[in-house]
């Protein structure tokens, strides 16, 4: 009897797999993940038969998964690199980018810190280890605790390119592996400086002005705030019109899509 039950269970598991529902697999960046989550949840409600999965393993994995054909849409918080493009094209996959939202990389300090503005050059010197005390930039005399994201994250790459201008970071820099951790580290440490996506700004950390520009929706969307970046969805070629992939990739163009982008703490592309 038990054996029969078990074999029936196994059989149903195997047979169930042969029934093909329409699927949509999304994979990639942890930063873009929340947007994909929100879109997916909306799609799930509108198209109940759609089998939609979201996975957050990093921008690099997203690119690799698209090249391998393991996913339909790759979410990336940076543009594809040369090698990733070549790999994809080598597999007969032609990546097309869709910019789904903007994200500002906001430089944050502990709210007790009186320093409210820094220039890009000053921030670069802090991360390079040339400035080590807040008194050197007009603050109280306290050592600077420098927090950075790990080098494999897209956020790090944006910061590295725009602020650091490819100059190496100093030896005293502390690396954390995600936005919430960077936020938590800055909020609990008086002399800390770190950088997080705009969605993570709240009253427990203070965003400072960079080159006299405060990070907010307007300055980021218009490109006035210097440390901003677009967030991408990559597909294999431009998706077939009317297909689920197409609907998903064009969803950010609708008012609903832009609203969701904003609700998730990112900067919508249009003033919808």
């Amino acid at each position: 009897m038990q054996k029969m039950l078990i074999s029936a269970l196994l059989f149903s598991l195997l047979v169930g797999g042969s029934v093909q529902a329409q699927t949509l697999q999304i994979e990639g960046s942890t930063t873009v993940g929340p947007i994909a989550d929100a879109f997916a949840e909306y799609f799930k409600r509108v198209y109940p038969d759609l089998n939609i999965t979201v996975k957050k393993t990093g921008s690099g994995d997203g690119a690799a998964a698209l090249a391998d054909g393991r996913c339909d849409i790759a979410t990336m918080s940076r543009f594809m690199k040369d090698k990733e493009f070549k790999d994809a094209v080598g597999n007969g996959v032609y990546p097309v980018a869709h910019v789904v939202a903007m994200d500002g990389v906001c430089v944050v300090v502990h709210p007790s810190n009186p320093v409210g503005a820094l220039t890009t050059a000053q921030i670069r010197d802090i991360y390079a280890g040339k400035i080590t005390n807040w008194s050197q930039v007009g603050g109280p005399s306290m050592p600077i605790v420098v927090i950075s994201r790990d080098t494999s994250s897209g956020t790090y790459e944006t910061f590295d390119e725009i602020v650091m201008a490819k100059q190496p970071m100093g030896p005293g820099v502390e690396y954390v592996n995600a936005n919430p951790q960077a936020h938590a580290r800055v909020k609990t440490t008086q002399g800390a400086i770190g950088y997080v996506g705009i969605g993570f700004l709240d009253r427990e950390v203070k965003a400072i002005m960079v080159d006299q520009v405060a990070p907010n929706r307007q300055t980021i969307a218009s490109g006035v705030y210097p440390v901003a970046r677009p967030l991408f969805l990559f597909t294999n070629g431009y998706p077939k019109l009317g297909s689920m992939v197409h609907r998903f990739c064009a969803f950010y163009l609708t008012e609903k899509g832009q609203e969701l982008v904003e609700a998730k703490g990112f900067v919508p592309l249009t003033a919808y």
Binding site: G17, N113, M142, P180, F200, K264
Partner: protein, 547 residues
């Protein structure tokens, strides 16, 4: 060494070992205690009427009539808050008032066109209306109370004129009285401060597109895109912290130049001293109970519900199913493979250099980091093996289970090997002497005798399979997706879900109870699985002893 010293050394040893056990227990309690305490908050908490609304809308679970009555009662208490905010806003929101005045003027013009009026009357009425509008706008833009009084009085002088009777222009006069009423009570030079402060209060009370508020969106507001911001505070602890933010304004101020700023809390009511909004800051704390109706809630459905908005609402049902599926399928591979390999190693293998290398490989395999297995699983099972077997090369439960099976195989083999080795030789010899073949001897004599030890291996690998994250990262786990229908679907799991919540969204910071809840669920699940295996082992053991 005399006897006394020896005895005291013995005692010292006993004491030390005892102390280390106690220390271990304390550490365990210190680590698990707070986690379990916080995790229990996902199931046991003070649920407000907003929680019950959410349960009704998202999970279709409510006593609808009782809830409707409750909502009507709470809405009545909340109405006062809405009125206070609206009344204050009337004197503050200049832009809105100006556009309202312009709108009235336009509509009045439209209405006039459809009336039987001579051209002269028409022109005159329009001019008077326009003059009223200009007077109002001048008053709205002014900070001089004398000028405002004068303008409003001039506007109100037109009130009884027959040409405005029953027309849209009557709204001019309510607008004017409301504004004068508000203007008399506020410091006109602080318009801008009030606007900023009001905005903050409104976000705390009613939430925004990004943040949930204390009472949820106002009835006339457009629907919010996410479920998480469509309700007020669903939990009493959330309500308490929002209330604290409402009553106390926080500011970082400089006490001494060159020193870090100091946080200062002041009653927010001070900002609105003398205005229509001031009583709000005593009304809300007094009536919060009535507005939210907290009730002790046992949300046991946490273990079966799906989640909404990346675990902001809901539970971990699909995650539990996914974890169980991966574990069961993984065990189906690892147990037979492990036992058979162990049997070969003990019973059949000769002690040559090849075997030594094989043993060494198994031992090394046990020390390989789990992420390596994850990448191996992706490269071998998903990308290499699946296409050749005719499956789609996509991550799925089968791939994840296979990867985890490979990961735990060394543990299983070592445990089974030890167990088989400890079966007394005399058992086997007896069986062989009776004429049984080696295979039969193993199946009927050695294996049952080794079963308790093998079950220990099962327990060890079970915990490993259920709890690992890295190997399934690339082979079968997703952060969002439907409940799996077959082993060829990817799935959500508790372990990957916990990781995902910790690194992904800002939401985990807003709902720590759900994050801890998921972790505690994983721990509990593993404990239950282990308990089942342990009970099974003790029964087998008893049977073997012949009881």
């Amino acid at each position: 060494m005399n006897l006394g010293v020896r005895r005291s050394l013995d005692r010292l040893f006993t004491g030390l070992t005892g102390a280390s056990i106690v220390l271990l227990m304390l550490v365990l309690i210190a680590v698990l205690g707070p986690m379990i305490y916080r995790g229990s908050g996902a199931v046991l908490f003070g649920g407000t009427v907003e929680f019950r609304k959410m349960q009704r809308d998202l999970f279709n679970r409510a006593d609808r009539d009782a809830l409707a009555a409750e909502i009507a009662e709470t809405d009545e208490v909340r109405q006062v808050v809405h009125e206070m905010v609206d009344r204050f806003k009337k004197g503050i929101d200049i832009a809105a008032m100006s556009s309202q005045a312009r709108e009235i003027n336009r509509e009045y013009g439209r209405e006039l066109r459809y009336r039987d009026a001579t051209p002269e009357e028409y022109t005159e009425s329009r001019e008077v209306a326009r003059a009223i509008r200009d007077k109002l706008e001048e008053a709205f833009g002014s900070q001089d109370i004398e000028l405002i009084r004068k303008n409003i009085a001039e506007v109100l002088a037109h009130k009884d004129e027959p040409r405005f009777k029953g027309t849209v222009a009557e709204r001019y006069f309510t607008l004017a009285t409301d504004f004068l009423d508000a203007a008399e009570h506020i410091d006109l030079s602080r318009y801008h401060d009030y606007l900023v402060a009001l905005d903050e209060v409104e976000v705390i009370l009613f939430g925004s597109i990004e943040h949930p508020g204390l009472l949820g969106p106002r009835p006339n507001q457009p629907a919010r895109p996410l479920a998480m911001t469509s309700y007020g505070a669903t939990r009493w602890d959330q309500a308490q912290s929002l209330l604290d933010r409402l009553v106390w304004a926080e500011k970082w101020v400089e006490k001494e130049p060159g020193q870090p700023l100091v946080k200062e809390r002041s009653p927010r009511a001070e900002l609105f001293h003398g205005t229509a909004l001031e009583p709000l800051f005593t009304y809300v704390p007094e009536q919060l109970d009535e507005m939210l109706r907290p009730r002790f809630t046992v949300y046991w459905q946490f273990f079966i519900d799906d989640n909404f908005d990346s675990h902001y609402f809901g539970g971990v049902g699909p995650e539990i199913i996914g974890t169980l599926l991966i574990t069961v399928v993984g065990m189906l591979f690892v147990v037979p493979l492990g036992v058979i390999s162990a049997a070969y190693l003990v019973e059949c293998a000769s002690d040559g250099p090849v075997m030594r290398i094989l043993r060494m490989s198994i031992n090394t395999l046990a020390g390989v980091p789990s992420i390596v297995f994850g990448l191996f699983g992706l490269a071998f099972f998903v990308l290499f093996l699946f296409p050749r077997l005719g499956f789609e090369p996509k991550p799925c439960i089968l791939a994840a289970s296979l990867t985890l099976a490979v990961l735990t195989l060394p543990v299983m083999i070592r445990a089974s090997e030890e167990a088989i080795r400890t079966v007394p030789r005399s058992y086997k010899e007896g069986s062989l002497a009776l004429g049984a073949s080696r295979f039969r001897t193993f199946v009927t004599v050695t294996f049952p005798a080794a079963l308790p030890g093998i079950l220990t291996g099962v327990i060890l690998s079970l915990s490993r399979i259920a709890g690992e994250t890295a190997p399934i990262l690339f082979t079968g786990a997703v952060s969002m997706g439907p409940v799996p229908k077959s082993i060829f679907d990817p799935t959500r799991t508790l372990s990957y879900g916990s990781y995902d919540m910790a690194v992904g969204d800002r939401l985990a910071m807003m709902v720590p109870h759900n994050q801890y809840g998921m972790v505690v669920t994983l721990i509990t699940l593993i404990l239950i699985l282990n308990a089942v295996a342990i009970v099974l082992r003790s029964r087998v053991f008893k049977k073997l002893k012949g009881h």
